[in-house]
Amino acid sequence: MADIRLDHVGKTYAGGFEAVRDLSLTVPDGCFCVLVGPSGCGKSTLLRMVAGLETITTGTVSLNAQVVNHLEPAQRDIAMVFQNYALYPHMRVYDNMAYGLRNRGVPEAEIASRVAHAAQILDLEDLLTRKPRALSGGQRQRVAMGRAIVRKPQVFLFDEPLSNLDAKLRVHMRVEIRKLQKALGVTSLYVTHDQTEAMTMADLLVVMNKGVIEQIGAPMEIYRTPMSVFVATFIGSPPMNILEATSLGDGVVSIEGHRLLIDQALSLPAGHKVKIGIRPEHLSVQADGFTIHVELVESLGAHQIIHATWGQQKLAMQVETDRVPAQSGQALVVGCAPQHLHVFDAQTGQRLLRDNAS
């Protein structure tokens, strides 16, 4: 077991592209940390630097308080699950799992018992003599997991391991991976671009964008108080509505000519441009509110998403089905409680804090 520490880590590629910039992060022992962000944000590069598959340009990576910058991947005592599983196609499932142990000179008897144990946990017992090409996607994924756990590593690294599975299997494997990690208690670093995966799996969620960390925290903390417009729109589905607004002072803003009360403790000077974030589920039909025009209604079963316009701006609201008999072209009067409004600076995109009048 180990903790992972990244100290001012940076990665610049030969072409001068800065994939990761001055990034610091500590993942405590036993924690399941998810790195999430759009493609090209540097999350995979970061993972590969921890794995030792990518050189580290600046800063240090430590596992269990030991700097591992110059250690080979094999010496770092980590296991990695790849997006395409990277199973050895010419080896049986058993040999795939045994390979890492054989390389380390573990006795065959011990290998047999460890593989048998992993196979039992992952329900692979009937597949041990098969070759990877004779397995389904979900089974291959489980073999990749098995290969990681037989080694009993200090750290698990996952590089988008569920992206190649269909939606149903993905939800299932999400739960399986999380259960397994909890049972084994191995510190894990998990990379994904899927915010649902990130929200549901993480103990510690790290939102990345353009090579830097936008926000670190527990998933619900990030969901409730996103610190930037980027995080606000990236985490949560459907994404948060962001509306252009102008401060009128005294905790009141104007959106599309409508006066909206925000937090009075935010002493914004009149005329200051801001962005107001409202989660689709926090909008509801109210007697006293603002008028939106319904463009399209998407039904998801229990919920429906109403896509609408408010003046020149677009927004979505999520309501329980049948609560609002909405139709395209219809006008609705809706509102949102002031505590559910998120206020961001229009220029910097940063969240405006109470004691920070900016």
Binding site: A51, G52, L53, E72, P73, A74, I78, A79, M80, F82, Q83, N84, A86, Y88, P89, H90, Y99, G100, N103, R104, K131, R133, R147, R151
Partner: protein
């Protein structure tokens, strides 16, 4: 997915196949049949008439001690060339597959020898190692080696093996490089994380995954040394000294073209043809099973 195309009549598909069929028949089957026919005939000394002699040509071939010698020479030559050209090209391909500066240039240069005609390649090697003129021959002399491929059969064999290998390396290199590039990088990375050092990684992951390529090249190389090395041998040693580099295919030429024994030469080429067909069949039947994964 069914990719079959249906034609309303049989004429159109036949017409489409015709050019290929004609080429195959005229240039492959007809000469083969001619060789078989000629192998049962004997010509008079002036080449004007020929008569049917049954298996006489074959008996002559199989009672000729020089024929068995040529077989031995071919065995040594083909084993050496196939082994050297495959292993050296694999080594070069592994080197070229890494992230190195100027990889494009390096690869292009390695492919060049393939564009050199066999006879030219032979002449090049002949001059480099010609005992009195050759640059390398002089170097060997300076090191105290009594190098003389014109008189020493072993030296002559080494020289043709080098020339034939050099010529084939480019071809093998191309296929090995393509094969290496088709191996997903993540497999190598997974093996690295699994604690396999580069050498072990190569033998346990890369080499087994390359085996279809290796097998294919092995078959192609065997056929190459059996038939296509004629030009090199002719240019470098002319089969000598004392027939130490006369392989089966060179003997076909020497007996038929130079010796004027068309029937005997035809019988030899039929035997050679049967040998190559048998070798290829054996390779496909027994070795291919082991290389599939």
């Amino acid at each position: 997915m069914d990719k079959r195309v249906f034609f309303p009549s049989k004429t159109v598909p036949l017409l489409l196949l015709l050019p290929q069929l004609v080429i195959t028949l005229v240039f492959f089957y007809w000469p083969a049949v001619q060789a078989v026919v000629m192998s049962f005939q004997m010509e008079d000394a002036f080449g004007t008439t020929s008569e049917f002699v049954g298996f006489e040509n074959y008996t002559a071939v199989f009672t000729d001690p020089f024929y068995y010698r040529a077989m031995g020479v071919t065995a040594v030559f083909s084993t050496a060339v196939a082994f050297l050209s495959l292993s050296l090209s694999l080594l070069l391909a592994v080197m070229a597959d890494r992230d190195i500066k100027g990889a494009g240039l390096y690869r292009t240069l390695l492919i060049w020898p393939y564009a050199v005609a066999p006879a030219i390649a032979g002449v090049l090697w002949y001059f480099m190692f010609q005992p009195s003129l050759g640059l390398f021959a002089r170097m060997l002399r300076d090191w105290g080696i009594d190098w003389n491929p014109l008189l020493n059969g072993d030296h002559a064999m080494i020289l043709v093996v080098m020339a034939a290998t050099w010529k084939q390396i480019s071809y093998n290199f191309l296929f090995f490089l393509a094969g290496l590039q088709a191996i997903p990088k993540s497999l190598i990375e997974a093996a690295a994380i699994d604690g396999a050092r580069p050498f072990r990684r190569f033998w346990t992951i890369v080499f087994p995954l390359l085996s279809p390529t290796t097998f294919f090249l092995f078959v192609v190389n065997i056929v190459y040394v059996f038939f296509d090395t004629f030009g090199i041998i002719d240019a470098v040693t002319g089969g000598g000294p004392a027939k130490t580099t006369t392989t089966l295919v060179f003997k076909v030429y020497a007996d038929g073209r130079l010796g004027g024994d068309l029937g005997g030469s035809a019988a030899q080429s039929v035997v050679l043809m049967v040998m190559v067909i048998a070798l290829t069949a054996i390779q496909f039947r027994f070795i291919e099973r082991k290389v599939s994964y």
